[in-house]
């Protein structure tokens, strides 16, 4: 019971933070520099790891499905399987997990330390709402960068799969056949569904990480505690939301 009220309180607090931040949406144009800085931090610096990881995930996906589909003589559909799995599921989820781990944690650490060292209080007395200066640019940046990262993850995964198919002896499906299969059974909506998922995950992660950072109380020790809490909460939310968003998208 007590737990439940605490959780409902946090959900309410997070939504309140969202509303307060969106209220400052008209100030976004004159915060363009901050927005770009966050795009750089969230998007550009995540590029190398997103590229490498999605490449290997696509490769492993091809390897595993090549092994299992050989039994059905369905090797020509590996492209379809890798393409769909990357676009609909693994691309968005993997990018979201990476964002939670390397961007969400950094945001929580930064805001929590600003809170603990009274920088947030200083902003408040200076009549500069932290929602406007700290939360809004980050939310805007993730909305722009998340689809970009997801598309890059998809492409890298697809090419990773193609390479494995072509050069693995036991599979040896050439990349032309691979991509034909990939295109034949994939609709535009498969890709856009994945991008919508990525967008939802990214937005929720950044919002929750900002909320947890700004609500840190106590001394410097609590900064670490907040970061752990933010990452764990983000991971749980990604996987739980994944189910419900997927279900909603499949129904529509």
């Amino acid at each position: 019971m007590n737990y439940l009220t605490i959780i409902i309180g946090h959900i309410g607090g997070t939504l309140l933070l969202l509303v307060r931040s969106l209220k400052f949406l008209p100030t976004l144009p004159r915060q363009f520099a901050r927005f770009m800085e966050q795009c750089y931090l969230i998007g550009y610096t995540s590029l190398p790891i997103v590229t490498i990881l999605s490449f290997f995930i696509g490769s492993v996906l091809a390897l595993q499905s090549g092994y299992s589909m050989e039994n059905f003589g369905a090797k020509q559909f590996i492209g379809t399987l890798v393409g769909l799995t990357m676009a609909r599921e693994l691309g968005p989820v993997m990018v979201a997990i990476l964002i939670a781990g390397r961007v969400g944690s950094a945001i929580t650490a930064e805001l929590a330390s600003m809170k603990v060292y009274q920088e947030i209080d200083a902003l408040t007395t200076m009549n500069i709402p932290p929602e406007r200066m700290l939360v809004l640019p980050r939310l805007a940046a993730i909305v722009v960068m998340m689809p970009v990262l997801a598309i890059i993850a998809n492409l890298c995964g697809w090419y990773g799969g193609a390479l494995v198919c072509q050069y693995t002896h036991s599979i040896s499906v050439d990349s032309e056949a691979y991509f034909t299969a990939l295109k034949a059974y994939m609709k535009r909506s498969d890709v856009t569904d994945g991008l919508i998922k990525a967008e939802v995950f990214g937005f929720v992660i950044i919002l929750v990480c900002c909320y947890i950072g700004l609500n840190t109380r106590g001394g410097p020790r609590e900064i670490g505690a907040s970061v752990t809490k933010a990452v764990v909460t983000s991971l749980i939310l990604i996987l739980v939301l994944d189910y419900f968003v997927t279900k909603a998208l499949l129904m529509s």
């Binding site: 600003m114 408040t124 007395t125 200076m126 200066m133």
Partner: protein, 268 residues
């Protein structure tokens, strides 16, 4: 902008008094402020003294609107300090004890943040305001440094400079001279007094520093254990009649009967 004054504030002379009316503050089960009432007149330098942990910082945060009273009320002029709207009506600056500088920004950007965010003037105007505030505290050379590269005393001065850029109508200081050497303490004391002199800004100074309080305060309040123990002009406390205040202001170091021994005995 004339250089003969500290700040050519558009709010010159427009300052506010502060009324603290029966404020009680509880954190969970502990009561930190117990029915505190104070009246600070416009333009006054009002010092709040008292032992560590007596609730001075919490009281100051109530005036700044960072804490909401459990009961009672704080008013700045005619405005409720707890109402966020008040920040749009009163330029209030709080100099935090630890500075609370923005660690990710240079000293210059720390000072420039306020006028930039409130779009009060163009970059050239901001530069003039920032450099002027820095020069008052002889910090010109530190403009491009980051807070992590500054000594404790410099952080405090930057925090005061940042408050000055806001052209405050109410200036709150939390222990501005703690951790500073005697000369720097005297310098900051002079700065606080001169600022009030030139801008007539109401200044509330939380401090342990007897020299500061007795040199520049118009009135002093003593906070002990969350309650007001006494308020008056500094002259009234030259020879205090209240033994608790007397002991706080002039603690006798008695090696024959040390305090820590008394504390030990009181636990038995």
């Amino acid at each position: 902008m004339s250089n003969s004054t500290f700040t050519a504030s558009p709010f010159l002379g427009k300052t506010f008094g502060v009324t603290v009316a029966n404020v009680t503050k509880k954190f969970g089960r502990t009561t930190v402020l117990k029915d505190v009432s104070l009246e600070v007149k416009p333009g006054e330098i009002f010092c709040i003294m008292g032992p560590s942990g007596s609730g001075k910082t919490v009281l100051l945060k109530h005036i700044a609107g960072l804490e909401i009273p459990t009961s009672g009320e704080v008013r700045i002029g005619d405005f409720d300090a707890a109402d966020p709207e008040t920040r749009n009506k009163v330029h209030l600056a709080l100099v935090f004890q630890a500075g609370a500088l923005f660690n990710s920004l240079s000293v210059y950007d720390n000072l420039a943040l306020y006028p930039r965010e409130h779009r009060e003037c163009n970059e050239a105007g901001i530069r003039e305001r920032v450099m002027h505030a820095l020069s008052i505290l002889s910090l010109e050379k530190a403009a491009n440094k980051f807070p992590s590269d500054l000594s404790g005393g410099m952080k405090k001065r930057v925090a005061i400079a940042r408050a000055l850029v806001m052209e405050p109508q109410l200036l709150l200081y939390d222990e501005p001279t703690s951790e500073l050497d005697p000369v720097m303490s005297a310098t900051l004391t002079e700065i606080i007094a001169t600022l009030r002199e030139q801008t007539a800004v109401t200044s509330i100074v939380v401090t342990h520093d007897r020299d500061l309080a007795f040199a520049i305060a118009d009135r002093v309040a003593f906070v002990m254990d969350g309650k007001i123990r006494g308020v008056g002009r500094p002259a009234d406390f030259k020879n205090p009649t209240d033994p608790v205040i007397a002991n706080f202001l002039n603690p006798v170091i008695d090696l024959k009967n040390p305090r820590f021994k008394q504390l030990e005995n009181s636990h038995e």
